[in-house]
């Protein structure tokens, strides 16, 4: 996952993966029928790791808008680290894989779509809670989550391509704009 995330699916060879994993090629193909299948498995494993952090960020114990704020902060921190360590913004691995392979590899596309939907579920639930507290405007929370996530993904990608974190810094206030925030104080 690290190799593919840092570079790209197309530029990473099975030999590269085996070298990094300290494994022979025969072992690789003993467990995975193809590079594509390994990638799907790596995507799922990445989700399993990430989930722990996300469950904490989106804990229902936290005020709903703080959850969204925490999510933006964590994304910014993550990319700050990549930039500091490697000089490059890596973006979101699911999006990167999806952008590269959605037209070519249906299994990878489906897995990316599946995981993105899981991400959106966190947003949806935070939005629903925020609505019930009267913090933001009404409307289908799933649609709202979808558009907030679009903005998030887009900002992430823009940051990657411009190699500049600023699109990620304004994310918090742009989320609220998109959610018809009820009082300006929520922005504080």
């Amino acid at each position: 996952m690290e190799l593919i995330w840092e570079n790209s699916y197309g530029s990473v060879s099975v030999d590269d993966i085996c070298r990094k994993a300290g494994v022979n090629k025969g072992s690789f193909y003993h467990f995975f029928p193809s590079k594509s299948d390994l990638t799907v498995a790596a995507m799922e494993a990445d989700w399993t790791n990430k989930r722990v952090e996300l469950d904490a960020i989106f804990s229902p114990q936290l005020p709903p808008l703080s959850r969204l704020e925490g999510y933006c902060d964590s994304a910014l921190r993550c990319q700050e680290n990549k930039l500091a360590a490697h000089g490059k913004i890596w973006g979101c691995p699911m999006i990167t894989l999806g952008a590269e392979l959605s037209t070519q590899d249906e299994k990878i596309r489906i897995k990316a779509a599946e995981i993105l939907r899981r991400y959106m579920r966190y947003l949806e639930s935070a939005i629903r809670d925020a609505q019930s507290e009267g913090l933001i405007g009404d409307g289908n929370p799933r649609d709202a989550a979808e558009r907030v996530f679009s903005l998030f993904q887009g900002a992430m990608l823009q940051a990657k391509i411009l190699n500049d974190l600023s699109p990620l810094r304004d994310l918090k206030s742009n989320f609220l704009r998109l959610l018809n925030v009820q009082s300006e104080s929520a922005l504080a």
Copy 2:
């Protein structure tokens, strides 16, 4: 450009490109030092083509919010065509290339960033005109263009990965939400 857009940079070989162009490999390398350089040239050529259409969509003769609407419509139509013809949503070629190669190929990253900035200039000017007519809220129009474009890119990518046009259908109203539209009638 077509090959790379439909597939990906990594999956298209110089041989593929030569075959499609009806050209020998020697000729290719007579004009371009590498596949990467050809890609940069193809990106610029793609912009030159696209520009004609964009100049029409964003004509200052049109009401500013109609320009944004026209842009959303044209993006939707474009992806509808790809879906109908090839069964897949192709997304935006600059974003696709940028997502795949920004960490690996600096020349391509810079060209993608340059062209994305040109796109944003259309948005910025429409937003500034809309502000001066009192149609939308004030605020730095460049920042507003950046966030509208983030949403646009994100929706495009989400459509590609989900292989479903619906994120593109709500784009128009989500633009306005992001721009603090002054009257609901602007949504009509």
